[in-house]
Symmetry: C2
Subunit: 264 residues, 2 copies
């Protein structure tokens, strides 16, 4: 019941964090983010939200796989033929997935895609396995193993260094059913809510709001897409002025159980 | 090819527009919005984005239907029984829809829902027909007939009054497949892009970005959810500092053709 969010937020600022070095495996990403926040000259405050793209989190955590070291399974070879992808990359995708929902090569792009449910429960293209923004063509990058834990590690390090309780959201850009284009969504959360639940509150005419849960973590993540862009020279952003009540959420709170999903 | 967006935006501000009166059918909504922008004391500038919730647009445009004047069709009666809704409301929903994708009454909420494709091509609950935030229990509110045209009218009026070229986005909160919670999306656009197309540009390692279109209008609309909330005492917001190139888009640009939709 965090409906008071409605009455608190009137002015939000989003700052893309500049000057982050290119992240390498083993880098102290939290330390880099702390310095980038300090460099903004803004006093980050409790309740602010730090948005971090999964790509730099994955890189810092060494979630790289060398394709030359991957032996594709029979299933990977079969799927790879169907969609025209490197069988070794498909093998990595399968290892990251609970199941493959679709495997197609749309005529519109000619680029094969596996729509997968990842081990985290996320539904996205290629289970988030990506070869862009990598300097070595032999490597692909996987999503963080536990993005909530990654967010919590960054949150703790920021608190230790700066003495403020930020929320941290790890973002990734996902395609969507029904609608064109990618949007950034929250795949990891620490210290902030996933959903704000207005059930039980009333609108200004007195009607009860019965099914109104707002996916605030996804709305916050969407902002990241506006300042980061896709070229990811700005892979993190600070949101100031958004206020929330209520218990911290987890990325899993945003995953809709199949039984409740009328949109599928 | 508007990839230069990547290099322009570093600092975005979002202001919820306070002091808007409750909107009634026939009200000069654009004039109200102009005064609300003036009241912020901010000099709105070319390239800023005005976000307006569909509800006040629909109200100003008189998109109210009196249920006492609606005679439900046989199909409406049958669907209404199935999902436990007022047959007259179901009739209004059917009139607003091209087709009904699902009609269910989930045990989790007990509240019947029709997932519809609206006449605009939007896929959402109850074709956007809503009874909340209305003072008269006999009325329901439909989406604007042509939200792009509604946005353009507001844009023209703002330009005439303030001499600035804002983009205008009309927003609504939608449920989504796979993910919990509502997010605000763009259902009407004027003077700004729907998608920013990065295809043909390269990431910083030189890899071509092949399928990267960002749904910037939806990302901008998502911000609205953070300042407006659902109680809609703040039904409009001004986004300052986001910069874009490229041709203005339309809401239809965000509707994914079935043939391209691997996520369905």
């Amino acid at each position: 019941m965090e409906s008071s969010t409605d009455l608190k937020t009137r002015d939000i600022r989003i700052h893309g964090l500049e000057g982050l070095p290119l992240v390498q495996p083993g880098d102290d990403l939290a330390g880099m983010l702390v310095r980038a926040i300090q460099n903004t000259g803004l006093a980050a405050g409790t309740g602010d939200v730090l948005l971090v793209t999964q790509k730099i989190v994955s890189k810092a955590e060494g979630r790289l796989v060398r394709l030359s070291e991957v032996t594709p399974s029979e299933r990977a070879v079969e799927l790879a033929q169907r969609v025209g992808k490197d069988p070794r990359k498909v093998e990595v995708i399968l290892r990251e997935s609970r199941r493959v929902l679709k495997a197609e090569r749309p005529a519109s792009t000619g680029i094969g895609v596996l729509i997968c449910e990842t081990r985290h429960g996320l539904v996205c293209a290629n289970a988030g396995v990506d070869e862009s923004n990598l300097s070595d063509p032999d490597t692909v990058l996987c999503l963080p193993a536990d993005p909530d834990a990654s967010a919590e590690r960054i949150r703790s390090a920021v608190r230790a260094a700066l003495g403020v309780d930020l929320a941290v959201i790890i973002t990734d850009s996902f395609g969507r059913p029904w609608r064109m284009g990618l949007v950034n969504v929250a795949i990891g959360i620490a210290g902030g809510p996933a959903l704000v639940d207005l059930r039980g509150s009333a609108d200004y005419s007195g009607h009860p709001l019965s099914v109104t849960r707002i996916a605030v973590a996804d709305e916050l993540a969407a902002i990241a897409g506006l300042v980061m862009g896709k070229l990811e020279l700005i892979p993190a952003a600070l949101v100031r002025g958004w206020r929330f009540d209520g218990a911290p959420g987890r990325a899993a709170d945003l995953i809709r159980p199949a039984a409740e999903d009328l949109f599928r």
